[in-house]
């Protein structure tokens, strides 16, 4: 279980998170949605241990994440950053293996990297320098890195881990959005917990088991999509006219009203 208990955070004089209490369960996809500046990424980084809240704490299986060392933490959760930076000309294969703990054997590491690269659809480009890739391809290469780290951590610790994804699909075409989400879904089936920060309400409604709707640093609603998604709640949060449609095959279509 990954929990936020009474988390408060001020960034640059502005309250970024206020009284956040939240429990994420393993084996599920949880989505954080909400307007720009709602605190989604800040909360993800608090849960990941890379941001220290001013009040409250994040807990991983009952232990405060800030008390867990960086190396141990990396075995139990992998993170895809919102804007991965790397100006070094690693190949896709080298990048994918970069975050793997050192005690994983080369044979295991290479197998896990291989699986991750296949899962993000970059098999053909595995020997290419990431600097020669498009933005979306590079993002998928970093996703392969996070997937490899997750699998390697689960292999060495023997327990399912957490995959924290900060806007994993925003630079991707529809087909590859689905590729990434399928990989995330597969991780939950294997027992891992997945957190996705996204602006894509349709994606969240269709893929997430639970949605945390955030606004001004607070979680204003938390539950299954069918429980919390109503046009009036969304209009309140986004201050914009919104529409929710269930399509014939059962898919959700959620977004602003254009006309």
């Amino acid at each position: 279980m990954l929990e936020a208990r009474n988390i408060g955070l001020t960034l640059g004089g502005r309250p970024a998170l206020t009284d956040v209490d939240l429990s994420l369960s393993s084996g599920e996809i949880t989505a954080f949605v909400g307007p720009n500046g709602a605190g989604k990424s800040s909360l993800l980084n608090c849960l990941a241990g890379s941001l220290r809240p001013d009040r409250g704490s994040a807990f991983l299986d009952g232990a405060p994440v800030l008390n867990i060392g960086a190396e141990e933490l990396a075995r139990r959760r992998a993170v895809l950053e919102q804007e991965p930076v790397s100006q070094a000309p690693f190949t896709v294969a080298e990048l994918a293996e970069l975050s793997t703990p050192i005690d994983v054997s080369p044979v295991d590491a290479s197998r896990l990297r291989h699986n991750a690269i296949v899962a993000v659809g970059l098999s053909d480009l595995s020997d290419r320098s990431i600097l020669t890739l498009s933005g979306g391809e590079r993002h998928r290469a970093h996703m392969a890195r996070a997937l490899t780290q997750l699998a390697a951590g689960e292999l060495t610790s023997g327990t399912p881990g957490w995959l924290l994804l900060d806007e994993p699909t925003s630079s991707l075409d529809p087909r590859h959005q689905l590729t990434i989400l399928t990989a995330a879904k597969r991780a939950t089936i294997a027992g891992s917990g997945v957190l996705i920060v996204s602006h894509d309400l349709t994606l969240a409604a269709n893929m997430a088991d639970r949605i945390a709707l955030m606004r001004d640093g607070r979680v204003v609603a938390f539950g299954a999509p069918s429980e919390i998604l109503t046009e009036s709640v969304l209009e309140d949060v986004y201050e914009t006219k919104m529409q929710i449609n269930r399509l014939a095959q059962g898919d959700w279509a959620v977004g602003p009203c254009y006309s």
Binding site: P89, S99, H114, V118
Partner: protein, 352 residues
């Protein structure tokens, strides 16, 4: 699966580096032999080898064992220290413009050493004899340590380190250090002045045998600290936050690099003076040859750094005999334009 991931994607690169290492090692052996053989008195390679095995005559032994061998050892230590410090700083900061000289670390070490030479006698006289040889490298380490702590603290902003600020801080530190050295030159007597002259541009032959041996030993002892950090340096390429997410204790890794840099650059500067640009040029060439993985960059940079130092030392030794211009003159003639070229190539990235 229609296309499999090439399982040898990583090993192919590793294999091709073996040739690079062998070629560089051959160059180094050649330069090392030349460093022992060439100079005002030329000694043939077979006599050099004979002398190394104890079969040389009195003159050959004196020249090779007491003058050229310590000089070669110091050259190896200087090239190693500057290359490792430069490669590690560039790795931590994700910027090819970082260099122990440019950010003022060498200047800090110089000030420490110059203070010891000019005013240290008064304090050094009270020290037990066993400690006195350590005064110079100790002071150089302190100077280097103070500067690196200062510029890193100054350049820290919002969890990342600004390289533009770091280099500007280095400019300021270099100016202040130049002024302090100037004052020391002004108040020093004739003997001290002779000791000081090489501090402006460095030399491999100006220190006592004892200082040379101590400094080389200290510098070479820091090598494992740098080499153990290769994975950390790779992870730094992802940015500091992602490096932490990947399991790196970022702050500790930075302190290790800063400390190892202060110790090794302090030590070699104490013995050889501030030798510029090797820490900039060697890692950059290494990156161009072996790619982005620091497990290959560091050893390659060391070999290139040592090769550049030995070549520069040979150049100044042979240029206008029997006079010997400072070695820093040679490294700066190559390094200065190289730095300018790097600046032009990286204009956009300095602001990052």
């Amino acid at each position: 699966m229609a296309q499999a991931v090439n399982p040898d994607g990583l090993t192919v690169r590793r294999g091709s580096h073996r040739l690079t290492f062998l070629a560089l090692a051959a160059v180094l052996v050649g330069l090392g032999l030349a460093a022992l053989a060439l100079g005002p008195v030329a000694i043939s390679p077979d006599r050099v080898i004979a002398t190394l095995f104890g079969a040389g005559d009195g003159v050959e032994s004196a020249i090779i064992l007491q003058i050229r061998l310590p000089r070669l050892l110091l050259g190896i230590a200087v090239g190693t220290a500057l290359a490792l410090a430069g490669a590690s700083l560039q790795g931590v900061l994700r910027n090819p413009l970082a260099d122990p000289g440019l950010i003022g670390v060498s200047a800090g070490a110089t000030v420490g050493a110059v203070l010891v030479i000019v005013v240290g006698e008064r304090f050094g006289a009270g020290l037990p004899d066993a400690l006195r040889p350590w005064l110079l490298p100790g002071a150089a380490f302190l100077g280097a340590g103070v500067v690196i702590a200062f510029v890193f603290a100054l350049a820290r902003r919002g969890g990342e380190t600004s390289v533009a600020t770091l280099i500007l801080a280095g400019v300021a530190v270099n100016t202040v250090a130049g002024a302090i050295v100037g004052v020391m030159v002004y108040i020093s007597d004739d003997q001290q002045l002779r000791d000081l002259t090489f501090w402006t541009l460095g030399a491999l032959s100006a220190s006592s045998l004892q200082t040379t041996l101590i400094a080389s030993a200290i510098a070479l002892l820091t090598v494992p600290a740098f080499i153990r950090g290769t994975r950390a340096l790779d992870l730094f390429q992802l940015g500091e936050r992602a490096a932490f997410h990947s399991g790196l204790n970022v702050e500790r890794a930075k302190v290790v690099v800063a400390l190892a840099t202060a110790v090794s650059v302090g030590a070699v500067t104490a013995a050889a003076g501030p030798i510029g640009f090797i820490g900039l040029v060697a890692p950059h060439l290494a990156r161009m040859i072996v790619g982005p993985s620091h497990a290959f960059i560091l050893p390659t940079a060391v070999m290139l750094g040592v090769a550049l130092i030995l070549a520069a030392d040979l150049a100044v030794r042979l240029a206008v005999p029997p006079a010997e211009p400072p070695i820093g003159l040679a490294t700066s003639i190559i390094g200065g334009p190289f730095f300018l070229w790097l600046l032009i190539r990286n204009r956009g990235r300095l602001h990052a």
